[in-house]
């Protein structure tokens, strides 16, 4: 990733893995020339918990709860992608009502996550008042989440073939109250983030990711949409009930008429997405048909079907940070998956840091990095071990292993 420069004028600045500006363990090595960043290297792996390896020793129902704990913030998106992969492999038809309920949960999570991000971004540029303001809003959404699912963070609401809890008429007043509260406060948020001088100064023209780079580096989610790339699994694949809900790509030109791909644009995209999510929830509640919650209420029956399945499935979902992909393969012998592979959005969004950060000042590192909403715990699951627990694998070796694995899977 990085070429060693020998020039004397630059020096190296390591940041992390434990550093007050970082919320999660990750390590950067910056090559600095005065105040300017010449080069960046990222080293990952501090949060590696061997989730995929563990998952291959559990059955699919247990994995839902493991997938939930890949990341506490995307605790719907990961299970969602996993469940869809299993449903894809086993051919399970999900009842329509469940699809709508899934949309509602996914969008609630997106609102929570984006508001959380807005607070963190404000904190990164030293605007702590806004952090508190946004997190106060977030508590309202968490209250609703708790009311609907029973939990604030890890919701355990999805299951293979449907969802575990219904939303009934009794729930409606509280839901609408919260949504109205969000709508009332949306303009306030928008005013703070988009009209405030400080925010504009710090975010406009900073951390630019050009359209071509976003495409080339496969950025996903709001990071790529802010650069004008129209990429959103909800629209492109219209999974769950998104197909019925008339949803569009959100790009910054909807508001400003132009795309710059800077931090400011990423703020715009996320704010607009909060609004979009509120509307989606309203629509989903309005259009939700009646019907079953799960295709098969008996978990053991589902597991028995999975045991007989010999096949693979891919599940994609749009997490708040971008596209998450889960792949599972069952070999028809056990209820544990033969392979489980997760690709979290931050994986794609880390490489764009390099073009974003090059040429910026050291002080811009936190806000630029935060602008992609990185989630390190999502990213660190992959490390290859050999018999001696040796983690050191270089790129060629990794590539070779990867090719081998592809061949193995194709057999």
């Amino acid at each position: 990733m990085k070429e060693k420069t020998t020039s004397k004028t630059t020096y190296q600045l390591p940041i992390g893995p434990i550093h007050p500006a970082l919320k999660e363990p990750v390590m950067f090595e910056f090559e600095i020339d005065g105040e300017r960043i010449v080069d960046v290297d990222v080293s990952l792996g501090h949060v590696h918990r061997a989730i995929e390896w563990t998952g291959m020793r559990r059955n699919s129902i247990q994995i839902i709860y493991l997938a939930e704990r890949i990341c506490g913030i995307c605790s719907i998106s990961h299970p969602m992608a996993f469940i869809r992969a299993v449903e894809n492999a086993v051919d399970i038809e999900v009842p329509e009502r469940a699809e709508y309920l899934r949309v509602i949960q996914c969008e609630l999570e997106r609102i929570c996550s984006h508001i959380l991000w807005a607070g963190v971004a404000a904190h990164e540029i030293g605007f702590d008042t806004v952090l508190f303001l946004t997190w106060q809003m977030r508590e309202k959404v968490l209250d609703l989440t708790e009311y609907l699912t029973g939990n604030r963070i890890t919701k355990a609401i999805l299951t293979i073939g449907g969802v575990r809890r219904d939303i009934t008429k009794d729930h409606h007043p509280k839901i609408f109250e919260t949504l109205n509260y969000l709508k009332d406060n949306f303009d306030k948020l928008r005013h703070i983030f988009l009209d405030d001088k400080t925010f504009q100064l710090r975010s406009q023209g900073c951390g630019i990711l050009r359209y071509e780079d976003a495409l080339k580096l496969c950025a996903v989610g709001p990071t790529t949409r802010a650069s004008g790339v129209k990429k959103d699994v909800r629209v492109d694949q219209s999974y769950a009930a998104y197909g019925d809900l008339d949803i569009k790509h959100i790009t910054p030109d909807l508001l400003t008429g132009q795309v710059n791909g800077d931090v400011y644009d990423r703020i715009i995209v996320r704010l607009l997405e909060i609004k979009q999510s509120v509307e989606l929830i309203e629509k989903a509640i309005d259009q939700m048909p009646s019907g079953d919650l799960v295709s098969e209420p008996k978990i053991l029956k589902i597991l028995a079907t999975i045991k007989k399945t010999n096949g693979e499935g891919v599940g994609r979902a749009e997490a708040p940070r971008g596209e998450v992909i889960h792949y599972v393969k069952f070999n028809g012998e056990s209820e544990h998956p033969y392979t489980w592979k997760v690709r979290a959005p931050t994986y794609n969004n880390i490489l764009p840091w390099i073009p974003m950060l090059k040429g910026e000042q050291i002080a811009d590192i936190p806000i630029v990095a935060a602008s992609t909403d990185p989630c390190i715990s999502c990213t660190n699951r992959v490390a290859v071990i050999d018999g001696n627990n040796n983690y050191e694998l270089n790129k060629e070796e990794l590539h070779r292993l990867s090719v081998e694995k592809t061949r193995r899977l194709m057999k």
Partner: protein, 145 residues
């Protein structure tokens, strides 16, 4: 308020938060405890940027192999008297990750944990309770001196 705590606090409690490989669930609940709804700061409890200023170490996550020495180093940098609060099931027992090959945790394998806060993630109220308990420990240590 927790039993054993003097009515007027002798000093404000400064907390350092260290993530040893958690899923973020506990971390956001810790921040939530500091934010307006629960507002830990009204007791003078605040997050600080370096372990050298901290009285209490809030640790989340099951301690991955890569983080083991870093966590120890953070602990050693804290001045005495100090207390360690382990927040979340995965730091306390391993939780869903218990059989993973890359853990040295639970945290009590690495550091002397004073307060265990259970939950995955625990509610902010539980975290506040944990901090109050650590406070009691620190005041007792202080009184012994």
């Amino acid at each position: 308020m927790a039993k054993g705590l003097s009515k007027s606090f002798k000093k404000a409690l400064w907390v350092y938060h260290c993530n040893s490989g958690s899923c973020n669930g506990c971390d956001i609940e810790i921040i939530a405890a500091l934010c307006p709804r629960y507002d830990l700061e009204r007791f003078g409890i605040k997050l600080v940027g370096t372990p050298r200023h901290a009285d209490v170490l809030l640790i989340t996550g099951p301690v991955t192999k890569q983080m083991e020495d870093k966590v120890k180093r953070v602990y050693e940098q804290m001045p005495d008297p100090k207390a360690v609060i382990c927040v979340g099931n995965c730091g306390n027992t391993g939780d869903v990750f218990y059989e993973s090959y890359n853990l040295v945790g639970p945290v009590s394998n690495v550091l002397p944990v004073d307060v265990h806060v259970i939950g995955c993630p625990p509610r902010p109220e539980a975290i506040i309770m944990g901090v109050a308990k650590a406070w009691v420990k620190l005041e007792t240590l202080e009184a012994k001196k």
